[in-house]
């Protein structure tokens, strides 16, 4: 089928050959889907996104993108790589790493310029994405001197400027204030409505209902424990509980201490 974007088959990956990060992952992602990958810390979410972005390559198993297998040293890949990178954009978990240019303006321009976009058009895009992400006032600043939330917006802007078909977001809302989280969710939903495929790694259950139709739960065994629609996963309390994804609250009520857990869809009491 032509609308399949990623096909991941039995992928294994370990860092330096001894720290396993993914052990047997299968998934199929179609054009225009909204996917979330959730799991506790260290379950391999970031690793998966880097595999999908063709930055690292599986030890075993295959990753196929747009009908072609992603391989490190193949001529087909070398030639297709540029095209591939234009179609897939990754927003890294650590914005400090993503931003390496001397100014915000240049960081946003970096991607489009590598793809041969003319400078006039690049300047137009800079203004456009700065407007979308509300960072016009930061354009001349040095990226690494910004706050975490500002950096995150700039990182997203730098990928948005490339205008890829597929967005990979690694923890896009971690450590951000509620309003910024709101902006980023709106951005994701909006991009999806424009036909973009979105894959988000997160452990924030509260945002999943909005940013994903399909959810994959990664477990401690570094593979997919369950995949399914976001409602079915969010309603499976024992699944979420056994995968460290539910908040456990402990507080006092009328002098009695009481412990309870809660699901994202339930109100706090």
């Amino acid at each position: 089928m032509s609308d399949i974007i990623f096909e991941v088959k039995d992928v294994h990956y370990s860092y330096l050959g001894k720290f396993p990060a993914l052990c047997g992952v299968d998934m199929t992602i179609r054009s225009g889907e909204k996917i979330a990958v959730i799991g506790a810390n260290g379950t391999g979410k970031s690793t998966l996104l880097q595999l999908l972005d063709g930055l690292i390559f599986p030890d075993r198993g295959t990753v196929t993108a747009f009908g072609e297998r992603l391989l490190e040293h193949s001529e087909v890949y070398e030639k297709a790589a540029h095209r591939f990178r234009q179609r897939v954009g990754l927003v890294f978990q650590n914005a400090d790493i993503q931003l390496f240019c001397p100014s915000v303006r240049e960081d946003i321009a970096f991607g489009p310029l590598q793809f041969g976009v003319a400078e006039g058009e690049v300047n137009r895009r800079i203004l456009e994405v700065a407007d979308v992400l509300d960072i016009q006032h930061l354009l001349e600043r040095v990226p690494h001197q910004l706050s975490i939330g500002e950096k995150r917006r700039v990182a997203i802007a730098s990928v948005l400027a490339i205008d890829p078909d597929v967005y990979l977001f690694d923890e896009p809302t971690a450590g951000l204030d509620p309003l910024t989280v709101r902006h980023i969710i709106d951005f994701i939903v909006n991009a999806n409505q424009r036909g973009k495929t979105i894959i988000t790694a997160t452990h924030d259950l509260h945002i999943i209902g909005e940013i994903a139709d399909t959810v994959y739960v990664f477990g401690r065994n570094k593979s997919i424990v369950r995949g399914g629609s976001s409602e079915s996963i969010l309603n499976d309390r024992s699944l979420l509980e056994s995968n460290n994804l539910i908040h456990i609250h402990r507080h006092h009520h009328d002098g009695r201490e009481h412990v309870h857990q809660h699901l994202p869809l339930e109100p706090h009491d």
């Binding site: 880097q50 972005d53 930055l55 540029h82 990178r85 234009q86 954009g89 990754l90 890294f92 650590n94 400090d96 790493i97 993503q98 390496f100 240019c101 001397p102 100014s103 303006r105 240049e106 321009a109 970096f110 991607g111 310029l113 590598q114 793809f115 041969g116 400078e119 690049v122 300047n123 001349e140 040095v142 690494h144 001197q145 730098s158 990928v159 490339i162």
Partner: protein, 283 residues
């Protein structure tokens, strides 16, 4: 506690922290570059060329009388560019010429520069005489250093470092080199911040760094750790560049906008330099 060792520690610690803060402030903050002043409004290319011309002039002039107008020009430019004069003088007059004074001091005396004695005194049995040519030479030297340093400080303080790097690229420095420099600069900032953080972390873990041995171990471990972190980070940064289409030769924005004002400024700079050099030649 009255333990002298503690006092020393405190002192060293405070000096290191304030030195770091100064480094970050002096080299890494772009506070003045973001102000709206005269030099900030010039095209970085024109600014760099004109300052190079001033610099060459200041270095080749052999008369204090001719260099002093250049120095006065620096002060006027600093004012026009909204750099507080006190801060500017502190940076230039105090910090760097302090070093050159060590070089100049010996040349004052008759042993090094013989000539008409101006003023003599005795230090522990040695008869020291300050000579007229010695003093003139010293004044010239100090003025020349002060002017050169002022020019460099003015240029670097009023230009965003990203723009200075772009100018480098225009002057034929390879892009990869420019990108490397800008990343080093970034690491420098990160490094300074990390060292600060480590200092605070060590302190919070060991209280005051009282147990010297332990403190040293923690610091040594942290330095190794920082190194690992930086190397791993540069690998990850490389991945981030790849992800956005980097193929080995980065393409960067190059637009500068020269206005008639820039040309006018460059013309005036050239005229000033030519005039001073002519005067210096015919003297």
């Amino acid at each position: 506690m009255s333990n002298p060792l503690h006092k020393k520690h405190d002192f060293i610690e405070r000096s290191i922290l304030s030195a770091l803060a100064f480094l970050k402030d002096a080299t890494l903050s772009e506070e003045y570059a973001n102000r709206k002043g005269f030099l900030q409004s010039l095209d970085p290319r024109f600014k760099t060329i004109s300052f190079l011309a001033f610099l060459v002039t200041a270095v080749s002039l052999k008369s204090a009388i001719l260099i002093s107008p250049l120095y006065v020009l620096c002060l006027i430019l600093a004012l026009l560019s909204r750099i507080p004069l006190r801060n500017f003088l502190l940076r230039t007059l105090f910090f760097i010429p302090l070093f050159s004074l060590f070089i100049v001091l010996p040349t004052l005396f008759s042993v090094v520069t013989p000539g008409e004695p101006l003023w003599s005194f005795h230090i522990s049995g040695i008869n020291a005489i300050i000579t007229r040519p010695g003093l003139d030479g010293a004044v010239l030297f100090v003025l020349r250093v002060a002017t050169s340093v002022s020019l460099v400080v003015l240029l670097s303080v009023t230009t965003r470092h990203s723009e200075l790097l772009k100018v480098l690229r225009l002057f034929g420095v390879p892009q990869l080199f420019v990108l490397t420099v800008s990343m080093c600069y970034r690491y420098l900032y990160l490094f300074a911040t990390m060292v600060e953080n480590i200092f605070t972390a060590v302190k919070s873990r060991v209280g005051v760094v009282s147990h010297q041995r332990h403190g040293q171990n923690v610091v040594a471990w942290n330095i190794a750790n920082t190194w690992n972190r930086t190397t791993q980070m540069s690998e990850e940064v490389y991945m981030a560049m790849l992800s956005r289409g980097y193929t080995g030769e980065p393409r960067l924005l190059s637009k500068f906008n020269a206005t008639p004002k820039d040309w006018l400024w460059l013309l005036s700079a050239v005229v000033i330099c030519a005039f001073l050099l002519y005067k210096g030649y015919s003297l």
